[in-house]
Structures are given as structure tokens and as C-alpha cells.
């Protein structure tokens, strides 16, 4: 058993003991499950990301129940499949908040889906955990954001790569919010470190042919390519890059590669050597993670998901929430905020995580890793990185009513 679970176990048995002393009236309430919502794409374009998240989400529920549930009540997952469709996101979010009256919701993958459902949960006062690495800037006390933001990742990987390869950078990015903001951060960090971004190119998410870009990159002769390319169409870039024999000539650094199952879809020859930066890799070396991965394997022996930051963080979300419920002895939002804002540090598979009370974003360890034979090897770790970007625009302590997604301008 891992540390966190041993601790959880003691606490929950304590809670159970306390409950058994309580009046029979409470015992009846014990039969009522606490509902938790899971809103991940299980079909459609994003299912390859959503399905592992959902698997881990279900596993977390099972673990909580095996440890005796919460407040003496079992936890029940309410799972809907928004089918990679924004209007279904908004419907199911409403349904979870209004009809199912879930205590908390984990979910949303793209920023678009988050901005669809976040206002709904805000309006109906349903606690919401967004567990994806994203461009930063959400300022909403109702949302707990555990994924990494550019100030945590880009800031680390840029100097690392510049040290290794050189100072001239060619940025290619997906043509949407995330890509634009990330590339702005890239430019800033490259310049802060005395380098130069020679070109920034944006690609619509449905572009799958990159021949012209590959020629242009060759003409520009950068020291490395920084990719913030997203989605399955953009995978074509890595293949065509390798196909042109460029892999051995110009290295690739990515801020987002490996959030989904990219490293498994590319062959080792195509993927080897790509550098990336996340808050979690399977290779993170601590006993909590080893045990976590073993449990994932045991829970899904046939279809073991590849765990990336996005699914590990979903697990984190459930664990942090469960811990707060136990400590607060309540599922009320306000009580849980108080626990989570206390600066408590959680010992999780990804390392030590705490929640920044000003932004409700995670302060967490960040890793740089290199892909070798479809597995990321950790090169360097940066403990306790702050979500500095969101901190620039958001202070929930001063303004607890904030409800906005800031676009951080640089």
C-alpha cells in the first residue's frame, strides 16, 4: 500500500468509527451514494484521450469505495459521453448539475469544452475539477485546475533545449487558443534566454499535409523546432518529418506531445528523441507512482491505458477531492475550498502537489523527458513549479467572485 492510501485508509476507518457511534438517522443517509460526475469524450475525435481519463476516474471511485466510501456513503460515478461534441457537453453538464445533483465533476478536455461547461457549473454551484494541461488563465473559484500551464512547462523546456541545441527556434503550433498562447510564451522565454524565434506558423487542426512547412523549416535552418501541434491530423507532421529524413538533422521539442497517445501511434523511429515537458510521466520514479501504475494494470489487465499527465491528473482530482471531503466532513463546496486552500500538500503519483489559493491551480513538480522507443525517459525534474502565468491575472483571495478565462497577454 502506498503512503497516501495508508493515510486515507486510517482516516476513513476513523470516519467510519465516528459514524458508527452516530445516531441511526445518519445510517439511513449512509445508503445514499455521493454522486460524482465524469465528463470525458468516450467516442468521436477525442476518445483516445477521454477513454484513459475515464478508466482512471472509475478506478479512483472503486478505490475510494473499497476504502469504505466517504462519510460512510458509497461514491457513485455518473458518466456521460459527450461524443466530442460541444453541445452535448453543455447538456450533460446541465444535467449533472441540475438533475443528478452530483457533488463534483471531473472532466472536459479541450479549452473549448471547459469554457462550455465551466460557466454552467459556476452558475449551479457544482464543484468542478479540470484536469488537463492547458494555456492558463482560468480564474474561477469553483474550478480546481490541476494540469500544467505554459509558465510551468514552456519556461523549463525552452532553456533546457536551447542549452542543448542552440538559440534559433522555429515554432509550429495549432491554430487555436492553446497554440497561440503557448507560442507567445515560447517567444517570451526564448528571448529571455537570449535566443530568437525565427518563425511562428499556425496550422488549422484539420491540416494533415506538411510538405511545404517541412521545406520552409529546412530553408530557415533553425537549431530546433518547437511544436505545439495538437490532434491526430497533426501527427502527420512527425511522420512526414521523419519520412523526409529530417529527424537526424533538426531536433523537435514539444509542449504537448504525449498528452494523448501520440507516442504509441508513432513508430519508435519516428518518435525517438522528441523532447517534451509535463507534470507527469509513467517514468516518474517514486513508490506512489509504481503502486499506482500497478493498480492501473490490475484494474485494466487487457486494455491497460498509457497514463499521461491528463489521466494521472484525473486520478489526482478524485483523490484530492476525496481527501477534502474526509477532512471537511462534508461535500459542501465552501467547506472543501477551505481544506484545499489551506496549502495542504498531497503525495501523489506525479510527486508533491498543492493548490495555490490565489488561482486554484496546482503547484506541482514538472519533468522534462525524451521519447525513446515509445516511452518517455525523464531527463530533469523541477520541483514545485508555480502557475505563474495565471497568477499574473488572477487573485481569488482578493476577488472570490471572479468568473473568467483571461487571455494572458505578453
Amino acid at each position: 500500500m502506498t503512503t497516501i492510501n495508508r493515510r486515507l485508509f486510517i482516516k476513513s476507518t476513523g470516519a467510519a468509527a465516528a459514524l458508527s457511534l452516530a445516531a441511526p438517522l445518519v445510517a439511513r443517509a449512509a445508503a445514499d451514494p455521493i454522486k460524482v460526475g465524469g465528463l470525458h469524450d468516450l467516442s468521436g475525435a477525442l476518445d483516445s484521450i477521454g477513454i484513459p481519463m475515464n478508466q482512471v476516474f472509475q478506478m479512483a471511485i472503486k478505490e475510494i469505495n473499497d476504502a469504505g466510501g466517504l462519510l460512510g456513503r458509497p461514491v457513485e460515478g455518473v458518466i456521460y459521453d459527450p461524443q466530442s461534441n460541444m453541445s452535448l457537453y453543455s447538456q450533460y453538464a446541465t444535467q449533472m448539475a441540475v438533475k443528478d445533483r452530483v457533488a463534483v465533476v471531473m472532466g472536459g478536455i479541450t479549452s473549448a469544452s471547459r469554457e462550455t461547461i465551466r460557466p454552467i457549473f459556476h452558475r449551479f454551484k457544482t464543484l468542478y475539477f479540470y484536469n488537463t494541461q492547458y494555456e492558463g488563465g482560468v480564474c474561477d473559484r469553483n474550478e480546481i485546475t490541476l494540469g500544467t500551464t505554459p509558465a510551468q512547462t514552456v519556461r523549463r523546456v525552452i532553456p533546457y533545449a536551447m542549452n542543448l541545441f542552440g538559440k534559433r527556434v522555429y515554432t509550429i503550433a495549432a491554430d487555436y487558443n492553446y497554440g497561440h498562447i503557448t507560442s507567445a510564451w515560447v517567444k517570451r522565454f526564448v528571448e529571455e534566454n537570449g535566443g530568437e524565434v525565427i518563425e511562428t506558423e499556425f496550422f488549422p487542426l484539420d491540416v494533415s499535409q506538411f510538405g511545404s512547412t517541412i521545406s520552409k523549416i529546412q530553408a530557415a535552418k533553425p537549431d530546433f523546432v518547437l511544436s505545439a501541434m495538437v490532434g491526430t491530423s497533426h501527427l502527420g507532421f512527425y511522420r512526414q518529418w521523419a519520412g523526409a529524413g529530417m529527424k537526424s538533422q533538426i531536433p523537435i521539442v514539444s509542449t504537448v506531445f504525449g498528452a494523448g497517445p501520440e507516442q504509441v501511434i508513432l513508430t519508435p523511429e519516428e518518435g525517438n528523441g522528441i523532447l517534451s515537458c509535463f507534470g507527469y510521466y509513467e517514468a516518474v520514479d517514486n513508490p506512489t507512482n509504481t503502486a499506482f501504475l500497478a493498480r492501473v494494470k490490475a484494474a485494466y489487465p487487457d486494455n491497460t491505458p498509457t497514463i499521461s499527465e491528463i489521466s494521472e491528473v484525473t486520478y489526482e482530482g478524485m483523490m484530492i477531492w476525496a481527501d477534502a471531503v474526509r477532512e471537511a466532513g462534508s461535500i459542501e463546496r465552501e467547506a472543501l475550498w477551505e481544506v484545499m486552500e489551506s496549502g495542504k500538500t498531497y503525495d501523489l503519483p506525479a510527486g508533491k502537489v498543492s493548490i495555490d489559493p490565489k488561482t486554484h491551480h496546482a503547484i506541482r513538480d514538472v519533468y522534462i523527458a525524451e521519447l525513446q522507443d515509445q516511452v518517455f525517459q525523464i531527463k530533469e525534474a523541477f520541483p514545485q513549479s508555480q502557475p505563474e502565468d495565471t497568477q499574473m491575472v488572477c487573485d481569488l483571495v482578493a476577488d472570490p467572485e471572479a468568473n473568467k478565462h483571461y487571455e494572458i497577454s505578453l
Binding site: 461524443q83 473549448a112 462550455t116 460557466p119 487555436y176 488549422p204
Partner: protein, 350 residues
Amino acid sequence: MEKSAIRDPGFYLMIAIGLAALFIGPLVVDMFTIMQVTQYVVLSVFALSLGYIWGFGGILSFGQAAFFGLGAYTFAVASINIGETTIPLILSFLLPAAFGAALGYFMFYGKLSDVYLGVVTMVVTLIFWKLANHTAGPEYVIGKARLGGFNGIPSIPTLNIPGEPDAWLDPAQLFQVFMAILIAVYVGLRLLIASDFGRVSIGIRENETRASLLGYDVRKHKVIVFSIGSGIAGLAGAMWATYQSFIDPNAFGMEMSAKALVWVMAGGVGTLVGPILGVILLQWLTLKLGMMELLNSFVVLGAIMMALVLALPKGMVPTLRGWALTGWTLARRGRGAARAKKPGEEGGAG
């Protein structure tokens, strides 16, 4: 089909059902259901826009989403800038209608027809979709509204009472207003179809050559029909934007156009009730499938669509009508066997 609306009992039945839902619905049904039904109402208006131009004008558009999206974005941009919603709602009808007229002029005066017409409308939709997706950068701002690219425009205001920008409608009121719009669109289209203009449109659908050989300007007629349909689709887009309080480029998506086709097709081309039924049935199904953790929603939905086309090629409403008619005839024949055969109805119709 050409039965005058004023004489058709079904017409009054539909209005009655609509009014009943409008007034009684919020009293007897819970808030969540009301919000769900609001969605069906919005999409029904959208389906009617295609049901009208296809079923009663013979214009098959694969790009109805272009106008839906245009209406939605118009409403979003205008309401964020103006700070109230009445003028934006009107604009979201007028602008798509004007654009529809322009595109219609381009197509019908160019004698495009058939599949080619479909593809041009589809291409236009794709262009909108691509451009809308390309507006992620901070330079794409209209007044106070950031277009937002792929992520779309969040925080679109809810409808307010005309003249009182701060009097926002609650979900039940929103439902009532939308229901009223749906009834108005339905009644408007029925009356339009029953009018001489509508009858000429039906004539054009039936035989374009004859219509022009009678001296009707087919091209002009089609442009008008197309433009009306575009305006209604735009209105539906605006309703969608305010209902969801956000809008993204998927409003311009192929899927949106295709869905409209499926609703109309499943419900029955050449009816107005059909598209509405199509929306209710298929949207309900999509929603339920996502909640059921069945195999995979796409498999089930795809199979149902194929089954619908193969089993009910005319759509639900005409098929049911056919069955009802056959049943009625059989019953009458059974009863009236003893009676003398009735002569066919004669004389002029209204």
C-alpha cells in the same frame, strides 16, 4: 400537401399542441426537462428552415449550417457589443437572409442545380468553418467581441425583455419565447406555402420548366425562397447561441448541415411537422446513447440512420400518413361495403 392551411385540421392541432406546451409546460415539468425541450425547439426552427426550402422550394442545400452559424455569430457579436438582445435577434435574421439572397443570386442565376448546388453550398459552409476556426489570434476582434477561433465566443448574453437590457429571461421564460418563435415560424411557413407565392414554389419544385413556361421567373423565386430559409436558419442560430451562451465554429460544421438533412429526411420531405419530429427523435436518441455506456454511440446512431433510410425512405410523417390513410380506407371500405359506391369529389378546390 397543397391543402390550404386554413382548412387543414392538422394545422390547428399543431398550433394547439405548441400553445399548450408554451403555457402549460413550465407549470408541470421540471426545470431540467424544460431546458432540454428548449433545445429541441431551437433545432426545430433550424430543421424547418431546411424543410421549407427543400420540401417546398425544391432546393437541396448541404450548407444550411452556413446560415445557422452566421446567425449565431451575428447574434453573439452584436449582443456583446450592444448589450441587449432584441436588435441582435433581428439582425441575425436579416444578415443571413441577405447573405442567402446574395449566394442564391450567385447560384440560381448561374443555373446551378442538383448535386452541384449541394456542393457549392457545402463549400461555402466549409469556407466559413475554416475562417471561423482561423480567428484564434487576438487580432480578430469585432468591437468588444473576440471571435476566439476554435474555442469560440463564450458568455453570450441570455435574451432580455425588449427595451430592458437588464431584465434577463429565466429558463422557463426563454422556453416560452422560443416556443412562440417556433409557432410563429411554423404558422408563417404554412401560410406562405398556402399563398400564391408558395404555390408557385411548389410548382417550381414539381416542374421548373413548366413554371418558367408559364412566365414565372424561376431564378428570382428560388432566390427569395432560399433567402427566407437562410433567414430562419440564422434566427435558429441566434437562438442556439443564446441558449448555450457560447458559440464555436462547429455551428458552421458539416455535421450541423448534415444533421439538418437527416432530421428533414427522417421526418419527411414536403411536410413541416416531419422535420420537427425528426429533431425530437434523433436528438433524444443521441442524448440517451451518450448516457448509456452502450458499445459506442457512433455505432448505434449510424446503424439507426441506415435503417431509417432503408426502411422509411419517405420519412416518418408521410409513411405514417400513408398507413393511417390505408387503415382508414380499409375501415371505411369494410363499413361502407353495403352502401353504394360514392362518386369522387368534384369541382374547384380552394
